[in-house]
């Protein structure tokens, strides 16, 4: 088989997906099964009418399921040209028909197109019964459908686009329980990022206060967790999410002065019961969700539009 004359392999290298497809697909997978045929006794004019009506370039000549020949566009032109269009089909048909077997791999079928320069091939099954017809268009259509299926499968494997993509800035830090050494790292970094972006100093201060209190909470109260800052067009969101232990009474925890911190933590100047209320005070929008045994998630949203905050919130100061 002259491998290098296969149309699809004339390029240096067939993409492996296409290669796999043409070797796994059989002729029966690509052929057209709805057949339009004509019997030997019909006229060439009838054949021409059928081909015109159905938009065919070839019409198999069939008798009791057996293929006798084929009428091509060339045969019709010849009949018209020689004024024998009323002749019987069996007298004008092409008798030496090259056929494909339905069980052939598509790759072999493609070499037939190249070797014989026909546009259409009838397809026979093992019992020499006509079961279909193949044009190069059928092959291309089937390959496109199969490739689309493969692409759809591949797309399923792609990771879902991360939410961070919708933000202009996203930064996160992980804090372990009692890692006092690291507390302040996240808020310090957030502050630097916002400074480099040219945000207003008072706004940065509010973000810094919210972030610092939340990371101190992670260090003091949680079993470890994550703090993040996301900046989008109109707001900055500071989110803290921990692994537990969760807050029994959220309303109580939000009350200023209430704290579960131990003496050691209090001696360091924390645990005054001001943390969460500080966060809430500097935020334009504040959400907290917590369940004992699960964990706590706090989101503090600070709008970047100046008109969105009153003066107290913008300075981060109580009056």
């Amino acid at each position: 088989m002259p491998e290098n004359t296969v149309p699809l392999s004339q390029s240096e290298k067939i993409p492996s997906l296409l290669e796999e497809l043409i070797y796994t697909l059989k002729i029966r997978d690509v052929m057209t099964r709805e057949l339009c045929t004509i019997s030997r006794a019909e006229t060439m004019r009838r054949a021409q009418a059928l081909m015109k009506e159905h938009g065919l370039t070839a019409l198999p000549v069939l008798e009791n399921g057996r293929l006798f020949g084929i009428i091509t566009v060339g045969d019709i032109i010849h009949a018209l040209d020689n004024k024998i269009i009323e002749d019987k089909v069996e007298d004008q048909m092409t008798r030496n028909v090259i056929v494909l077997e339905d069980d052939m791999p598509l790759s072999l079928g493609i070499t037939y197109f190249d070797r014989y320069h026909f546009r259409v091939f009838p397809v026979l099954d093992k019992n020499n019964k006509l079961v279909g017809i193949v044009t190069s268009r059928d092959i291309i259509n089937k390959l496109l459908v199969e490739m689309n299926k493969e692409v759809a499968e591949l797309e399923k494997l792609l990771p879902a686009p991360a939410q961070v993509n919708s933000y202009s800035v996203y930064k996160e830090f992980i804090h372990q329980k009692f890692s006092f050494e690291d507390a302040g790292v996240a808020s310090g970094e957030f502050k630097k990022i916002l400074q480099s972006k040219g945000f207003d100093a008072k706004l940065i201060r509010r973000v810094a206060v919210a972030a610092y209190e939340l990371e101190m909470n992670l260090v003091i109260h949680s079993d470890g967790g994550k703090i993040s800052m996301a900046v989008n067009g109109s707001s900055i969101e500071i989110a803290a999410k921990d692994r537990g232990p969760g807050i029994k009474d959220v309303a109580l925890a939000l009350q200023e002065g209430y704290s579960t911190a131990n003496d050691w933590i209090r001696s360091l100047g924390f645990g005054a019961g001001m943390g969460l209320s500080n966060v809430r005070r500097v935020s334009d929008d504040f959400q907290i969700q917590s369940a004992p045994g699960k964990g706590t998630e706090v989101r503090a949203i600070i709008n970047t539009g100046k008109e969105n905050a009153d003066e107290n919130k913008r300075t981060g100061q109580t009056t």
Binding site: E181, V209, M216, G269, M274
Partner: protein, 110 residues
């Protein structure tokens, strides 16, 4: 008054000298860091007994002009290093918070 002028006061000892010399407009005296976060003004001098690294983190976040550690508390090395990194002056004093506040308050150009 400026941070460098504080260093001239006999009651204060400059223990962390790598700092940005700034005009001090304000002060805040507290040992509760959340209280400091909530209430300290801008360019404030922080007067406290909290001699540890987290005080520097809070002072840095609030752009404090300096920190005075009262009652002669020993200042740990990591706190000094952290303050040097953030360019925040640290003073040590034997005065308590009340006396230190009085010392500074009258000298601020308001």
């Amino acid at each position: 008054m400026k941070t460098s002028e504080l260093a001239k006061l006999p009651e204060l000892k400059l223990v962390q000298a790598k700092y940005e010399d700034r005009e001090i407009k304000n002060g805040y005296t507290s040992d509760l860091l959340s209280d400091v976060l909530a209430n300290a003004g801008e360019n404030a001098l922080l007067i406290t007994i909290q001699a540890h690294k987290n005080t520097v983190a809070v002072a840095s976040l609030l752009d404090c002009a300096g920190i005075i550690i009262c009652n002669g508390k020993t200042i740990p090395e990591d706190m000094l290093q952290s303050a040097a990194q953030e360019n925040i002056a640290i003073f040590n004093t034997g005065l308590n918070q009340f006396a230190a506040s009085h010392l500074i308050y009258g000298r601020l150009n308001r």
